[in-house]
């Protein structure tokens, strides 16, 4: 009699405990919404704008040379340790980048690399392709990132 009461109590307590824990979503392994597919090939690289502060970029048909010159100075100071303009180094070369990516994606990669390599399908794939080397956040301003983008158009 005593034993079965104890067992019942133990069960009840266990039940109550389990009921508690199932309220916290991060401990639930099943029945959650399925994560969005993150396979890179599913994203169209030229329409993917990436994740970050830049949602649209206006670009004139012709290169703004003054802006590009400024961008070159920033690039050489802040980016060259890992990105050579025309050849693969620690990271990929920016030459021809706008044939492969949207301008917004490029700027978001510069401005928000931590989130991009975690959540953007293309950036995630690139991180693995480049030996897990993180894209360093060099804390460029949005203007500076825009200037660097203009410089990329001249490569």
């Amino acid at each position: 009699m005593k034993n079965s009461v104890l067992k019942l109590l133990a069960l009840l307590l266990l039940f109550a405990w389990a009921g508690c824990s199932s309220d916290t979503p991060e401990t639930t392994a099943t029945d959650g919404p399925k994560p969005k597919s993150m396979l890179a090939e599913e994203a169209d690289p030229l329409t993917n704008k990436g994740i970050g502060p830049v949602t649209s970029v206006e670009m004139s048909a012709a290169v703004d040379q003054a802006m590009a010159d400024k961008g070159k100075v920033v690039y050489e100071k802040m980016c060259m340790a890992c990105h050579k303009p025309t050849e693969k180094f620690i990271g990929p070369a920016p030459k021809g980048i706008l044939d492969r990516r949207s301008p917004e994606w490029v700027m978001n990669m510069i401005l928000n690399p931590e989130q991009m390599v975690k959540e953007d399908p293309i950036a995630k794939k690139l991180l693995m392709e480049f030996n897990g080397s993180p894209m360093a956040n060099q804390n460029l301003t949005q203007d500076e990132a825009r200037q660097v983008l203009e410089y990329f158009r001249t490569l």
Binding site: K2, V5, L6, L9, L12, L13, A16, W17, G19, C20, D23, T24, E76, K77, M78, M80, A81, C82, F89, I90, N131, G132, S133, P134, A136, N137, Q138, N139
Partner: protein, 662 residues
């Protein structure tokens, strides 16, 4: 049987209660507030959930470690050890070329000191979170730490001092930090018989002016006092602003067996210095220029390096020539701590050997001066009559009173070393309200802002001298023990024990919100004015000037430029000037070379630091990054080829593609 069923029903009830509790707590786990059954639980009052911040910073002196340790309160979590007076190989402090000048003194480079009393800068009597000052006790010095970087920004040597103990105890707008000497010494130093103490020795009280924008320190003047031993200090506030009070012992003026010989007199003195009067005497040209020899060392966040300048004289005021500059307040007995209350009216003094706590009254002191209520003099300094300045006495509150802090609600908290307790009492009525034991033998104590005009009276921290059995034993040497008490209720409540570095003497506390928003995340490369900066990888190079080789090197995740160097010779002095090109928070790189006789470099983003390496034998020597920086941190490495002295091996360097011999 009856007994059994009783037990059973008790068990049943207990379990049901537990069940109800558990169910009712469902869904509240993330709300953070401890309510219901948890209230009154000490653990919940010091629990800072993972990822959450502490409410206060606490800065504990490192005592004989020479450093300051920054903690979070109420958790007691160690946030950073800030190297100040002692070298710290972990950070390269005192080992890299940039910080060596900070530890320069008139005696040469000194890798250690004994740091006692941190003092947060104040504006209008309130802590402002700009700087923290601390005294070096052994080789007399004062340091200023910048609280945007948590790094030592300046160290000033104090001449004519024999141990800087009653220091820094700054004024309410950080006009001055003070530096009273513990030992009286011959001034200027000379070869005399020690027994000529009373005749030949003097005690200097230094007033160090702080430049309000930069924090730069400068010895404005010294007051040359008779041969007393100055112990602690407290600057006036509000009505008493303009005065600083120094406790002293050894009014007997003895030079041996002080334990006995300096404990004879019933009363010793508090020296009250009118520094506003001193400023008038300075202006009137009353100060004498005394030759002196001391170093002033300043670190720059622009050049990322310190410079050391030799200083050659100080201005000295002689009390007998400057009436009204300083008075002596008789104080029972061998006073140690002196603490001006937040209203600025009372000067609370703790006579180590006195049964009582004595509070002098500042208004009564002014009246006594006006009435010339003198009781003799010492070396031209008038002694005020004890009864004429006495403001109140806390009668027999405990044994061995040392220090007092305030909570801003009219209460005072005094530490008692011998009876090992904190006693709470009321300022003005002098009645004891509460007492709590400390474990063991408390020295200083600290309420955040508790020495300012605006204490943040939520906690008091006991800084204990004896640890004994409080923690798991670690052989004969034990860590020091701090204890946190809540003081926001009527009764003090012990919440937490936590270990501290070195031997903490005094400490300071401040709301995190006064420091956190101003905390620097990295140094801007564009503002780096280091003479050997390498601003981009393109600028990396190796330059030989005779047997001095300068390596202009960069770091970024995860490589050095260059990472291969040839043409170094045995007997060279190789300076690695390493610039961290990262421009993001929390991406330092380390740098270490096999066989280097100093330490690593730990280079913050945007900073340049220099390691000197003198290779002694031929070979190919590895170097690597010591601070885990990325997934490929382990690959952040390189080689330096060392050829024999006089070898013709070409000087060249590269990263990736080998650079041809030029």
């Amino acid at each position: 049987m009856k007994n059994q069923s009783n037990q059973l029903s008790k068990l049943l009830l207990g379990s049901l209660a537990a069940l109800v509790l558990l169910l009712s707590s469902c869904g509240k786990a993330n709300q953070g507030s401890a309510s219901g059954a948890l209230s009154g639980n000490a653990a919940s009052k010091v629990y800072v959930a993972p990822g959450q911040y502490d409410e206060f910073y606490a800065f504990m002196s490192g005592g004989f470690s020479g450093q300051i340790a920054a903690y979070g309160l109420p958790s007691g979590r160690l946030l950073k050890v800030i190297p100040v007076f002692s070298v710290d190989p972990e950070k390269g402090y005192g080992f890299n070329e940039e910080t060596k000048p900070l530890l320069n003194t008139s005696h040469g480079f000194i890798p250690w000191d004994d740091a006692h009393h941190p003092a947060l800068s104040q504006t209008n009597g309130e802590t402002d979170g700009r700087w923290i000052f601390i005294n070096g006790n052994n080789t007399p010095r004062l340091a200023r730490i910048d609280l945007t970087t948590f790094e030592t920004a300046e160290i000033l040597e104090i001449p004519n001092s024999g141990g800087n103990h009653s220091s820094p105890y700054l004024t309410q707008n950080t006009e001055y930090v003070v530096a009273g000497t513990r030992f009286s010494v011959p001034i200027p130093q000379k070869d005399v018989a020690i027994s000529s103490y009373a005749e030949n020795f003097k005690g200097a009280l230094s007033f160090v002016k702080v430049e309000p924008n930069t924090g730069r320190m400068n010895i404005e003047f010294q007051v040359l006092m008779p041969a007393l031993n100055f112990d602690l200090a407290s600057s006036g506030k509000g009505p008493s602003h303009g005065w600083t009070f120094f406790t002293s012992y050894n009014s007997e003026m003895k030079n041996s067996l002080l334990e006995v010989n300096a404990s004879q007199n019933d009363k010793d003195f508090v020296a009250a210095v009118n520094w506003k009067k001193a400023e008038e005497y300075l202006k009137a040209g009353k100060a004498k220029d005394f030759p002196a020899n001391y170093m002033h060392n300043v670190y720059s966040d622009e050049t990322h390096m310190a410079t050391s300048t030799a200083m050659k004289s100080v201005k000295v005021l002689i009390p007998s020539e400057c009436p009204g500059l300083v008075y002596l307040l008789p104080t029972p007995k061998s006073p140690h701590g002196v603490d001006v209350d937040p209203t600025g009216e009372y000067i609370v003094c703790s006579g180590k050997l006195s049964a009582d706590i004595t509070a002098h009254s500042f208004p009564k002191m002014l009246k006594a001066i006006e009435d010339k209520a003198f009781d003799g003099e010492v070396g031209g300094v008038p002694i005020l009559k004890f009864e004429s300045v006495l403001g109140g006495t806390v009668k027999e509150p405990g044994l061995g009173p040392l220090h007092t802090e305030f909570d801003g609600k009219g209460n005072a908290y005094t530490s008692f070393f011998i009876s090992s307790e904190i006693v709470k009492w009321k300022v003005g009525t002098w009645e004891v309200i509460d007492r709590q034991p400390t474990y063991y033998s408390i020295g200083h104590l600290m309420v955040p802002g508790g020495n300012s005009m605006k204490p943040e009276g939520k906690y008091v921290v006991a800084l204990n001298k004896i640890t004994k059995d409080r923690y798991l034993p670690t052989g004969p040497e034990l860590t020091q023990s701090a204890q946190l008490y809540s003081i926001d209720g009527d009764k003090m409540e012990l919440l937490l024990d936590f270990p501290t570095i070195g031997e903490p003497h005094y400490a300071q506390g401040i709301s995190a919100s006064k420091i956190k928003p101003k905390s620097k995340q990295f140094f801007k490369l564009s503002e780096n004015k280091h003479p050997y900066v390498t601003p981009t990888e393109k600028d990396a190079k190796v330059v030989r000037e005779g047997n001095v080789v300068r390596v202009y090197m960069t770091t970024i995740r995860s490589h050095f430029m260059p990472d291969n160097i040839e043409g170094i010779r045995v007997g060279d002095k190789v300076y690695f000037h390493v610039t961290n090109l990262e421009q993001d928070f929390d991406v330092p790189h380390g740098f270490a070379v096999m066989g280097a006789n100093n330490a690593e470099l730990l280079i913050m983003p945007g900073q340049t630091e220099t390691l000197l390496w003198e290779p002694k034998s031929v070979g190919v020597i590895p170097m690597y990054c010591t601070d885990f920086c990325s997934a490929l941190h382990q690959e952040m490495q390189g080689y330096i080829r060392v050829s024999p002295a006089g070898s013709a091996t070409a000087l060249r360097w590269w990263l990736g593609d080998e650079k041809p011999v030029q």
